[in-house]
Amino acid sequence: MTDTDDRTAERARARPVRDGLVLGLAVGTSGVAFGAAAVGSGMNVAQACVLSLLAFTGASQFALAGAVASGGLAGGVAGAILLGSRNTLYGLRLADLLPPRGARKLVAAHGVIDETTAISLAQPDPAAARLGFWATFATIYVTWNLTTLLGAFGAGRLGSPQSLGIDVVGPAAFLALIWPRLRAGRAERAVGLAGAVIALAATSFLPPGVPVILAATAALAGALISPRPAGPRPAGPRPAGPGPGGAEDPRLPDSGEAGVP
């Protein structure tokens, strides 16, 4: 093995870990906003922290805080859980990459969220995807829980999340995460656009959280309209070059650097 090979291998391991750390720190710190929102809604500090430790899925947690604030707890819980159902779909994609059984699988399941999925699927191979998953999971878990505690205690004492632009962190992060996938092909862009439009259109007459789930119908339509032939590696992460089955799809440009963050 030459020096170049060593360096390449080292970079291949370093990148998913670095991506996970950067994303984990960037997104995990929004636990401050959740802690503040939870206590502001009427939860106590312990409830806010238990939620971050055991539920560990941001959108659902914010939804529950909203439900506590507005009453309607039962419906709020149902909506918040439903919002977490996208993690089931992420799990389908990650199942091949994560430990197949045992305690490690039970631990890994807790980490199946938006960010770990995005980082894992942006890696060029399964080994990098696994590294990215665990790095992202560990970083976000620690950061999210520490900053939840901070936000719950400091609610109101810090600057308002609005004045710091914290409310833009979520959408900007999600946009950055899907950016490389949107560049992968026309079908991907159409599905993303349709998902956004469906969710926006449904927002005013469905409970919070449900419009986002409804957006999955865009993926369903996309899959029915343009399924790609079965590839050799089911459900593996997208390779750095054209996607699985990409050779059969002339519309797919070279996605090149599959780089999330």
Binding site: A55, V168, W179, T217, A219, A230
Partner: protein
């Protein structure tokens, strides 16, 4: 207060069960190319939906927050310039924060 504890624990259990379900569904499910393509496209649809809802959402209605939209616009510009993830986030939040400090939004 007890009601909130019940809500917290029920939600935690439900969220974990949903995560685990995705991992234990029989692998054969993904043998179908349409199912596989669906699983591949789902994160795109949901993350795009989350982006849109968080960008335009104001509770259960839609709203235009000029500073927030400008922040997102700055994020798009940074992405087009292939900025690293953290730069995109800082540019987005910083743009909104500066605009609000100037009284926009």
């Amino acid at each position: 207060m007890t009601g909130i504890w019940v809500a917290v624990l029920v939600m935690a259990a439900g969220c974990y069960a949903l995560k685990l379900t995705g991992l234990i569904v029989p692998r054969g499910v993904l043998d179908n190319p349409r199912v596989r393509r669906f699983a591949e496209l789902v994160p795109i649809a949901l993350l795009a939906a989350l982006t849109a809802v968080q960008a335009f959402g104001a509770g259960q209605s839609l709203g235009m927050d000029p500073a927030r939209l400008a922040g997102l616009g700055a994020a798009v510009a940074a992405l087009l310039l292939r900025a690293p993830f953290l730069v995109v986030i800082v540019v987005a939040a910083g743009t909104a924060a500066v605009l609000r400090a100037l009284g926009v939004g």
